[in-house]
């Protein structure tokens, strides 16, 4: 079953923000929209929810045409927005209660699901704390729990871990994986390569509203890179580049860092060892390299 189907969708504000984009998200899948700020990810999330209309193209979500019948789709969607919009003067429990009512749930239905949502969000001891007293990570987890109150099939998450410290981020990732294990479908926008690599079954890599690659993270890395990477910090990247070029499949320079893609990284390292002022790092390739390869630039935070 297809959870989300976008066909040739375009959207222009002052400039073109989404350019004839098509993708399909299967039920039970975690699909990531990966790209730098301004790539059009949030606009796509808003269009999927029917909160803004495409200028051209067709969107179907959970079998329902959007935006025409978006309300019907939203009944079975949970949303984690980019910025917290919890009621800060309310307690944790009141936030869940109020949100359940937006979905026409009765007090009894809401009271029945609150304990499991609090447990899921690891907020059992905070039920009667005001939101203003919670840490950033707790607020995000409450937002996540709130998004689950209507037992949605699909979760739309816009940068769910932006602004969190690494520990809080890992806890969110772990919670999201448990949702996937329960069969939920997730549409996730992110500019964190690590987040995309860890969570997403498939990815759409975006730049300036266009799709520049699509596929499984591991497949994208294999196709686009396919060998280890040596990162070189310090020295003159161009001079060093000339030195190791014979041993490299490809060399990219980004800022002060030189990225050398080499089937045999030992040979590259041998050329550079012993040179003063250099820091060397050999590592497996990741999505950062894919993005660099496809766009010629790094994805800044």
């Amino acid at each position: 079953m297809v959870a989300i189907d976008l066909t040739d969708v375009s959207k222009t504000y002052d400039k073109l923000v989404v350019d004839r984009l098509s993708f399909r998200v299967a039920a039970g899948e975690c699909f990531g929209l990966l790209g730098p700020n301004g790539a059009g990810k949030s606009t796509i999330a808003r269009m999927v929810l029917g909160m803004t209309s495409p200028d051209a193209g067709k969107i179907t979500v959970l079998g329902v045409p959007v935006p025409a019948r978006a309300r019907l789709a939203r009944m079975r969607i949970g949303v984690v927005p980019q910025f917290d919009n919890l009621d800060t003067t309310f307690t944790v429990r009141e936030n869940l209660l109020v949100f359940g009512r937006y979905f026409r749930m009765s007090r009894r239905q809401i009271d029945a699901v609150i304990p499991s949502l609090l447990e899921f969000a690891r907020l059992e001891n905070k039920a009667d704390a005001r939101v203003a007293e919670l840490s950033g990570g707790m607020k995000r987890r409450l937002t996540l729990a709130r998004a689950l109150i209507n037992d949605p099939h699909l979760l739309v998450m816009d940068e769910p871990t932006t602004g969190l410290d690494p520990q809080a981020r890992h806890l969110i990732w772990e919670r999201l994986r448990s949702l996937l294990a329960r069969g939920k479908t997730i549409l996730l926008t992110t500019h964190f390569m690590e987040e995309a690599e860890r969570l997403c079954d498939r990815l759409c890599v975006m730049e300036e509203g266009r799709k520049i690659a699509e596929g499984r993270p591991s497949a994208l890395i294999d196709e686009q890179i396919g060998c280890d990477v040596v990162e070189v910090y310090g020295g003159n990247p161009h001079e060093l580049g000339a030195l190791i070029r014979p041993y490299a499949q490809r060399i990219e320079v980004s800022g002060e860092t030189l990225f050398c893609y080499a089937p045999d990284p030992e040979q590259v390292l041998a050329q550079l060892r012993g040179r003063a002022g250099l820091r060397l790092l050999q590592r497996p390739p990741n999505l950062e390299d894919v993005f660099l390869r496809l766009t010629g630039r790094e994805m800044e935070d």
Binding site: Y13, L49, S53, A68, V98
Partner: protein, 262 residues
């Protein structure tokens, strides 16, 4: 375009209740302070003008000045609290607090949200207007049974003023713009609509303008009820307040759609 506008309309006749209840829950936490705040202003006018000016002038339209003024203050308090709740409360929930953003992610439509906000503002108008009525009645300026007729009138007036203010809220780029609405619309109405002195004291052209304004219709319903007199053209006044409720509502759905869902 028409289809998209329709999708922003209230989904059904009861969805708005969830929005109203959210606001009620928030209000309960600060309820007493909020009621006192809403009451202070009209109360000061009622006693300050009522006793101050009232002692210097004779009866107005066949009653004491303070009894005449009481009806004006009931209507004015409904206008002021519905307006304040909409331009400050609703504007904050739309903007900084991102409350509407959260609601728009649920099965609620923009129309449901606006309806809930208007109903909430009308509720606050009802609380403020009723409180003044009770004070005035306790002092003998109105009869207790008249309160029953007054409640729906105050609620409808609150709805009309909230609906008008919602259009301003939809257009205002920031809080600063509400001062224009207050000084150019709300305050002149206070003087044009017979809240503090009879409309027939005004030059003819002003009387014509006043007959179009919502506060005048509210007062023409409230004053006879409080003074126990037969009300003339009730249908006209109720109809006018209904128009002031309904037309701005449809306009604000369109304006907010353009603002929030573009």
């Amino acid at each position: 375009m028409g289809e998209r506008y329709a999708a922003g309309m209230p989904a059904n006749a009861w969805n708005w209740v969830a929005v109203w209840r959210r606001n009620y829950l928030g209000w309960k936490k600060i309820g007493l302070a909020s009621v006192l705040g809403n009451l202070a202003d009209p109360m000061i006018y009622l006693f300050g003008l009522g006793f101050g000016i009232g002692t210097m002038i004779g009866p107005v339209e066949g009653t004491s000045y303070i009894a005449f003024l009481a009806a004006g203050m009931v209507a004015t308090s409904a206008m002021a609290s519905a307006t304040a709740e909409t331009v400050y409360g609703s504007f904050g929930r739309m903007g900084d607090q991102r409350t509407w953003e959260g609601m728009l992610c649920t099965q609620l439509t923009l129309g449901d949200i606006l309806l809930g906000e208007l109903a909430w503002a009308a509720t606050k108008a009802l609380m403020a207007g009723t409180a003044i009525t009770i004070v005035a009645t306790t002092l003998g300026y109105a009869s207790w049974p008249s309160i029953l007729c007054l409640l729906p009138v105050i609620a409808l007036s609150g709805l009309a003023f909230a609906s008008l203010a919602m259009v301003v809220t939809a257009l205002a780029p920031s809080y600063e713009y509400f001062i224009f609405y207050n000084t150019l619309v709300i305050t002149p109405m206070l003087f044009l609509c017979g809240a503090m002195f009879p409309v027939n004291q005004l030059p003819g052209a002003f009387q014509d303008v006043a007959s179009l304004l919502p506060l005048a219709h509210a007062i023409d319903l409230i004053r006879p009820a409080m003074l126990g007199r037969p009300a003339g053209s009730m249908g006209l006044h109720i109809g006018a307040l209904c128009i002031y409720t309904v037309l701005p509502f449809f306009l604000s759905v369109a304006l907010f759609r353009r603002r929030l869902m573009r």
